[in-house]
């Protein structure tokens, strides 16, 4: 919500700067940004009372002397004869109607009304609606203006339970479904209560006689309606968070005063219906409890002084909560008020000592498995559980994000298969992934299984021992025998027939219930450790990689290490990776063959052959500078 600094400061005697007010508002918990003298607030949902100038001034009164300077019409007002019936008093326990007739419609707005539209760069609508909007901004109470000439017949407030067409005053046609609080005229909806008025009875530029409706609606009846019907509504934002049920008299008399300041009023009449009294909350004075909750030591005098400044009334031994503070009901609520006034950052820390629970071991089966897999080159992934496959036992999401995410997965392997294909498309030729996740099934009741799923394809590893070996069932069975010597695991081959891929390597997978694994796992001695530092992430390139292999022949064995150190430490912006993919000692020829694979990739562009060759040729040149090192064919 936007509120201009000048609209606040004109009511504050000390005339604080925008920065001073900003600091105080932050201390009070009213998060905001400032742009060109306008505060843009994001209020917490419990503070509906702050959604106005007066609401913020009530809070700022703890720090400053506030003078509201908001005149109201004070004379007696005739009683309005209105054919109105409230059929849902529990939803609308209090409502008032004001009828006003004016002589002429003013062209120019004055004072605060003019400032509101000018300072906040708002467009005008029509005279009565403009005053209504301003009053909502000033006092926090939304009102609705009907063109009185268009209200003919009995006006009914009712929570409607039947489907009805309704055209809003913004000419949006909506179909009301389910329960909706509405105002009806001749059985037609003329107002979706607390959200938006209807076109059929809306005020226009020519309206000279208005009926202003000022109501309290139970927040529960309004919540969700603006989202349901996709209507941007400041009124519903306020009603959802709760408005002051005791403000009608002030708001309507202020309405009259503002009209009176702009044009002559020919007639006015008012009627208020109070069906159910608003609850009055009283909390016992107990400063010891407040001190205990916050962990401070303030005097009762200071405590009560804070509350009085915030509008609370102190009666014998109890604190009466003002009608606009529907969020205050308990000692903890009052403690928060005191803590805000003191400032959370000004409350000193008190040493906490939590009794130690019995030390929990992180070395359970699941974690042993994770580190075993890490030690063998597997990467842990996490996938979304939402899928579009409706297996018999899949749990259906009632309100999915879209039709491709209507169900919860019943296996992890499918997610891993997608991950594998994604990485294959990114030219990865050694892919080993795993995920541990809870999987839920729809049965008589919802049941859960904790699963470990593994998928692997391509080369066993990117080193000279594993480069030429392909991942297959045998490899994985042998691998898992190291950790589960007495348990037979059934690895599966996933067919590539239905997969859109040119890669031919076998895809091996397994999905295991963690509970089914034996405690043998616990004896595994892991090599990998969790990283101590949090590595800084380098942006990933989306450009394709290019690979270059160079095979060297070395007669002088001493030079092997020199070559390795040179090439494994060779650095260039486009050289992404280098590793030894081949090593062989030829006893007959007494020479060492060693092969290096270089991966080239640029962060921003696709590399050309010429660009790669510049680096490639440099690598060849410097490596051949080592005596006794040759490249067959060059």
């Amino acid at each position: 919500m936007k509120i201009a600094y000048s609209h606040l400061s004109q009511h504050i005697i000390e005339n604080p700067s925008i920065e001073q007010i900003s600091d105080r508002l932050f201390q009070l918990g009213h998060e905001h940004e400032i742009q060109n003298g306008i505060f843009d607030f994001e209020f917490t949902p419990n503070r509906g009372d702050c959604l106005s100038i007066n609401g913020l001034l009530r809070d700022l009164a703890i720090f400053y002397t506030v003078a509201h300077n908001q005149d109201i019409y004070t004379k007696k007002i005739d009683s309005l004869q209105l054919d109105f019936e409230n059929l849902s008093e529990n939803i609308c326990p209090k409502i008032s109607f004001l009828k006003l007739e004016i002589e002429s419609i003013p062209d120019i707005y004055k004072d605060c009304l003019n400032d509101y539209f000018t300072d906040l760069s708002l467009n005008r609508n029509n005279f009565f609606t403009d005053i209504s909007n301003y009053l909502s901004y000033e006092a926090g109470q939304p009102t609705h203006c009907y063109d009185a000439d268009l209200i003919e017949g009995k006006l009914i407030f009712k929570e409607l339970s039947e489907d009805k067409e309704f055209e809003t005053l913004l000419e949006k046609k909506i179909k009301l479904k389910g329960k909706n609080p509405t105002f009806l005229l001749n059985n037609e909806v003329i107002n979706l209560a607390g959200v938006v008025g209807g076109k059929s009875t809306a005020c226009s530029l020519d309206t000279k006689t208005v009926i202003v409706e000022c109501a309290y609606f139970q927040p529960e009846a309004i919540i969700g309606k603006s989202v349901k019907y996709d209507i941007q509504s400041e009124a519903s934002h306020k009603f959802e968070r709760g408005v002051d049920p005791e403000c009608h008299e002030f708001v309507l008399r202020r309405f009259i005063k503002l009209v009176d300041e702009h044009t002559n009023i020919k007639s006015m009449s008012l009627i208020s219906y109070n069906y159910i009294d608003a609850p009055i909350h009283q909390i016992p004075v107990n400063v010891q409890k407040i001190n205990q909750i916050i962990g401070i030591d303030i005097s009762e005098g200071d405590y009560l002084d804070y509350l009085i400044k915030l509008g609370f009334v102190i009666e014998t031994g109890s604190i009466k909560v003002p009608s606009y503070r529907s969020d205050i009901k308990t000692q903890n609520d009052l403690a928060e008020e005191v803590a805000r006034v003191i400032g959370y950052d000004n409350i000193s820390r008190l040493k906490i000592k939590i009794p130690k629970s019995k030390k929990q071991s992180y070395k359970d089966i699941e974690n042993k498995l994770r580190y075993f897999l890490l030690d063998n080159g597997f990467y842990e992934v996490i996938n979304s559980p939402f899928v579009n496959i409706a297996s018999k036992e899949a749990i259906k999401v009632d309100n999915p994000l879209d039709s491709s995410r209507e169900f919860l997965r019943t296996n992890v392997t499918n997610s891993l298969l997608e991950n594998l294909l994604f990485n294959e498309r990114r030219q990865k030729d050694s892919i080993k992934l795993f995920e541990i996740s809870d999987i839920y099934f729809s049965d008589v009741n919802i049941s859960k299984k904790r699963k470990l799923s593994i998928i692997a394809s391509g080369r066993i590893g990117l080193n000279y021992e594993d480069f030429s070996k392909k991942i297959n069932k045998k490899y994985l069975i042998r691998l898992f025998k190291k950790i589960l010597p007495n348990q037979d695991l059934e690895f599966k081959i996933i067919s590539r027939d239905s997969l859109n891929t040119k890669v031919t390597s076998e895809i091996i997978s397994i999905e295991i219930d963690i509970e089914s694994l034996s405690n043998e796992v616990l004896s595994y001695k892991e090599i990998s450790k969790p990283p101590k530092l949090f590595n800084q992430y380098n942006l990933i390139s989306e450009q394709p990689c290019s690979f270059k292999d160079i095979s060297y022949s070395i007669k002088d064995y001493k030079k092997t290490k020199e070559l390795q150190e040179l090439l494994l430490n060779y650095s260039n912006d486009i050289l992404k990776n280098v590793f030894i993919f081949d090593y062989f000692y030829n006893e007959n020829k007494e020479e060492i063959k060693i092969g290096f694979r270089f991966t080239f990739q640029n962060k921003n562009i696709t590399l050309t052959s010429a660009e790669i060759d510049v680096v490639y040729n440099d690598i060849i040149k410097i490596s051949l500078g080592i005596e006794g090192v040759t490249i067959p064919g060059i």
Binding site: Q27, G29, T44, P45, P219, E220, I223, I293, A335, E336, A339, Y344, D345, I347, S348, R349, I352, I354, P355, S357, K359, N376, G377, F378, Y379, E380, V381, I382, N383, I395, K396, V397, N399, P400, L408, N419, F422, R426, S430, I431, L433, I446, K448, G461, N463, Y464, S528, F534, N535, Q536, N538, I540, K555, K558, F579, I580, Y583, Y585, E590, I592
Partner: protein, 241 residues
């Protein structure tokens, strides 16, 4: 003939895998909290409205309960938990104070854009004992933040609102660029919640806090797009060894 006869092969550099950075972050936070004294409790991701909302003082009318914020399943009979707090409710129902629980895991909200995902991770903690105060909560939060971000980090507490805590606060840390970044939410357990769990709120009080793991991991690793965590891209994952 070469004089040197050492033909031992080069060091065999075997590629190690990596933990997912979100799980690593979660584990680190949980490990830290267990050293402070918290006990790990676990609970289901598919919850009831009772445990996810009612017991936590989240009223029927609260916007979070709407279909546009919460995923409901099986004809609204259950829901995907929107936070890990229901685990603590279950813990409080099972054990009497003093108690100190942490729970971590996946939570779900109906969001999907550049900064929000429908699935993310939280770690939440609760400590209930006699005379637990807001000043003690501050001490605990300082300990946690200093452990995770170092003793020189500047932090501030702001009043906030959660139905299950009162008073409630959000905690920001000051980034190197001089920007305040929201890092966690916390507060004193609302007495209504304690009473719901059959804990005498006249005798006991509690503190609670919750951290968004993705947010922490993004800050610690310098990841700017939350979606990167869930692409399962090996170029990404291999950076977190």
């Amino acid at each position: 003939m070469p004089e040197h006869k050492d033909i031992s092969p080069p060091e065999l550099i075997k590629d190690r895998g990596s933990l997912h950075p979100i799980n690593h972050m979660k584990d680190s936070v949980m490990e830290l909290l267990t050293t402070i004294g918290f006990e790990i409790v676990d609970g289901p991701e598919i919850e009831t409205e009772k445990f996810n909302f009612d017991m936590l003082n989240i009223k029927k009318s609260h916007p979070a309960r709407q279909m546009h914020d919460t995923f409901y399943v099986e004809n609204k009979s259950n829901l995907l938990r929107t936070h890990t707090s229901p685990v603590q409710i279950r813990g409080m129902l099972e054990k009497k104070p003093p108690l100190a629980f942490i729970s971590g895991g996946k939570v779900y909200r109906k969001d999907d854009d550049a900064t929000h995902l429908p699935m993310f991770h939280q770690v939440e903690g609760i400590y209930v004992d006699e005379n637990v105060s807001f000043a003690q909560l501050k001490d605990l939060i300082y300990k946690i933040i200093y452990s995770l971000f170092g003793d020189n980090i500047e932090l501030r507490f702001r009043p906030s609102y959660f139905p299950f805590t009162e008073p409630s606060a959000e905690v920001d840390i000051l980034s190197k660029e001089g920007k305040w970044l929201e890092i966690l939410g916390c507060g004193l357990v609302n007495p209504i919640v304690l009473n719901n769990c059959n804990i005498d709120s006249n005798k006991y009080s509690g503190l609670a806090f919750g951290l968004g793991i993705e947010r922490m991991a993004m800050l610690k690793h310098g990841v700017t797009d939350i979606r990167e965590f869930y692409k399962s891209n090996l170029d990404f994952l291999s950076q977190f060894k």
